[in-house]
């Protein structure tokens, strides 16, 4: 009887016949959330996958290709999964990848500081029968917690190669990807031993499967266990006879144990993982750690909220101070350069219009966008990497539940302060479809770094940081109210929050810099050229008086918002990229001294409208992918109505003073 485990070729066989460039092996990094998969991935292929210290930071498979020691390695960074029974779309995509035959080798990344729990997934993966290596990551954290693990004993116990790493410091990565390690991978030679009644049920189903599954790439034991667990993804893997046998075995097991078969299997894995942990690890006294005291304060029922407010006020204050200092420093230098540059250009001609527009687009990006964007992205990267965001989710769950949302929704919202695109994608960590839709809509209302830039460069720069903070607070209030409205339009009992809160980590400067560059590069290579092109188009439109037609077409909107007529064109550019609306505003008004031509009410009405109206094109594309075309239209319509109403309200409030 040849089982499908045996039909899987050992990786050594795969790599033996490999000549450089002749082919590739596909290696998947699999592990529980927040165990360091993306950090390892980035070490090997360069920084391509965004990392952060919270579970669910990777929501789709990232791919990278490297040539290592003469063979081509296609490395996959797979979203974190707790088990092979998916509970959200991100986990489902990871599971689908594993169930397909496209993976030659699994590197199971295990958080050494959470070994017993992490081993539950290892045991499940082992049943797949795919060649596998265990990467025991974060061993420094385990030592700090007083846990001493014998990798050798663990390797013997699992029947798999086990390597220790500290991925955040690059320790052990070279050894992990050495040919010796990769070629040592093979399907586990040690079979799991569960309680007799469970083993009997598994073997019974396994036997029923054997006759008709020789073509399948999944091991019979894995399919048998999944059938007992009533896994809907595997029900099609068995014929009528095997299904009947598994149904009977499941019913018998449930009547014997008095609970569902899947919880029985889960308990068996849990027990086995605990047994292995006790055999391979020694738990001693943990080292004194300031993080314990810090966490006690930051999650305190009262002080936690005081710290939360202080952290966010401090964050925006630092961004504004640094941003405005940079802006003030850059503007005179750029103005002087412009004077020298255009001294020899004949005035009034088409060439001057084009050159000036080019320069305005470039200088706008350099002096208005970059100064605020860089400190903002560093601040956000710090909060992400230090591990504060899950604490924020914990603190805000009560409030979010009151408006009918899942507490984990706060993670996409916070990511939304960076960029709305990953924020929409991050909604995949939510279990309910309705929650994913509402969180996506709300995430697009959160001011992304581009819109924050408008707030900083317009409201904070011309009216002071207090006004800008007021805009951010007002935005938060509108997001909460919108959530309240949307959850009443689409009522549903939100499932209770279950969120793993990771340990604090000291962010590595190199990783943070790479992450900031990855995000900044999007502005430099995508938005900045668009900004310069937009500036040229606007300059030409003004030169040939076409802008008048656009402004007239948009005059009902600008009139109702109480804005100058010339602002109309900037609103159109804002749909392409939000930064454009700020830079275009300067160009449309013909001065950088915006406060001289616009009143406080007009500045605020413009900012409020820009903050809430139609998401940028990239976000619209992400929304279509996540929630579909119809719901994206609903989202766009909603944001437009909210932006117009709030813009008009702002105008009326300031007109009454």
């Amino acid at each position: 009887m040849e089982t499908s485990v045996e039909s899987r070729s050992n990786l050594a066989d795969v790599t033996h016949g490999f000549l450089p460039g002749a082919g590739q092996i596909t290696v998947a990094l699999i592990g529980q959330p927040n165990c360091g998969k993306s950090t390892i991935f980035n070490h090997v292929v360069g920084y391509r996958s965004e990392t952060a210290n919270f579970p669910g930071s990777t929501v789709e498979v990232s791919r990278g290709q490297v040539r290592l020691n003469g063979y081509i390695l296609q490395l996959l960074d797979v979203p974190g999964i707790y088990s092979l029974t998916s509970s959200n779309p991100a986990e489902a995509s990871a599971k689908q990848l594993l169930l397909s035959s496209g993976v030659d080798l699994i590197i199971n990344v295990v958080d050494a500081a959470l070994l017993s729990r992490s081993l539950e997934l290892t045991l499940e993966l082992r049943e797949l029968g795919v060649p596998m290596v265990v990467c025991l990551n974060m061993t420094d954290d385990a030592e700090r917690k007083g846990i001493a693990i014998s990798a050798e004993k663990l390797s013997r116990r699992l029947g798999l190669t086990v390597l220790e790493t500290v991925a955040s410091r690059g320790r052990g990565i070279r050894e992990l990807f050495s040919p010796a390690t990769l070629c040592s991978a093979g399907p586990a030679s040690v079979a799991p031993v569960w309680s007799r009644d469970v083993e009997d049920a598994v073997r019974e189903v396994e036997t029923a499967l054997t006759s008709d599954r020789e073509e399948s790439n999944l091991s019979n034991r894995f399919v048998a266990v999944k059938l007992l667990e009533s896994d809907s993804d595997l029900t099609g893997a068995a014929d009528a006879h095997a299904t009947e046998v598994s149904d009977n075995a499941r019913r018998r097991l449930e009547s014997m144990r008095g609970r569902s078969a899947d919880s029985v299997v889960m308990a068996e894995r849990h027990d086995e993982a605990m047994r292995i942990f006790e055999e391979v690890a020694v738990v001693g006294r943990p080292r004194a750690d300031i993080r314990f005291i810090l966490d006690s304060a930051l999650t305190h029922p009262v002080w936690g909220y005081a710290f939360l407010a202080a952290i966010f006020v401090g964050f925006f204050w630092v961004v504004f101070r640094l941003g405005s200092a940079l802006e003030r420093g850059l503007q005179p230098a750029l103005a002087m350069s412009a004077t020298q540059l255009f001294a020899r250009v004949p005035a009034g001609g088409l060439i001057e219009v084009m050159l000036r527009s080019l320069w305005d687009g470039f200088a706008g990006g350099a002096s208005i966008v970059i100064p605020y964007l860089v400190p903002f992205l560093f601040g956000l990267a710090f909060l992400e990497d230090v591990g504060y965001l899950p604490r924020l989710a914990y603190l805000s769950d009560g409030l979010l539940h009151r408006i009918g949302l899942h507490g984990t929704s706060v993670l996409p919202f916070i990511l939304g302060y960076g960029c709305s695109v990953p924020a929409c994608m991050a909604t995949r960590i939510l279990p309910s479809r309705r929650d994913r839709f509402i969180a996506s809509v709300l995430a697009t209302l959160v001011p992304c770094s581009a819109r924050s830039n408008v707030i900083f460069a317009l409201v904070a720069f011309y009216r002071g940081p207090g006004w800008a903070l007021g805009v951010f607070c007002f935005n938060g209030l509108v997001v909460v109210l919108s959530g309240w409205i949307l959850t009443r339009i689409w009522p549903e009992v939100s499932p209770g929050m279950v969120l793993e809160v990771p340990r604090y980590q000291i962010p590595a400067a190199k990783v943070m810099t790479r992450k900031v560059w990855l995000r900044l590069r999007e502005f430099v290579v995508l938005s900045w050229p668009l900004l310069i092109a937009g500036s040229v188009i606007l300059g030409l439109a003004e030169h040939w008086h076409w802008d008048h037609a656009i402004n007239m077409a948009l005059s009902p909107l600008t009139r109702v918002l109480g804005l100058p007529l010339a602002v109309g064109t900037t609103l159109v550019f804002g749909v392409l990229r939000k930064e454009l609306s700020m830079v275009m505003l300067v160009q449309a008004l013909g001065t950088t001294e915006v406060a001289r031509v616009m009143t406080t009410g007009q500045i605020l009405a413009f900012t409020i409208f820009i903050t809430f109206y139609i998401p940028c094109l990239a976000t619209i594309a992400a929304l279509v992918k996540e929630i579909g075309r119809k719901m994206t239209m609903v989202s766009i319509g909603y944001s437009l109505v909210v932006a117009t109403l709030l813009g008009v309200a702002t105008r009326l409030v300031f007109a009454s003073f």
């Binding site: 017993s116 917690k145 009560g398 209770g496 793993e500």
Partner: protein, 98 residues
Amino acid sequence: MTGPHSAPQEPKTSVNSEEYVTYLDRAPRSEWVEVLDMPRGRSATRVLGQVGVCVNQKLRVLSTAPLGGPVLVDANGTTVAIGRSLAKRIKVRLTRGA
């Protein structure tokens, strides 16, 4: 095993220890509890089980957020925030050291 707030020790047990049964949302801060029963429904049991909250598991209550917010527990070294609606349905035995 350790939690995030202090260097926790295994719960003390003695012949004098006072034990009583309650639900997780009512368990006092810093106390050790043992899970006796989980919420009905496969989905909740599975998701909680994945992060180490299952029957017979010892948990340490770290904090409870106000406004009906979640309960923060240490489950075998993993810190988990459990929404109040779920915590209300997790039956636990509280063990107070003598």
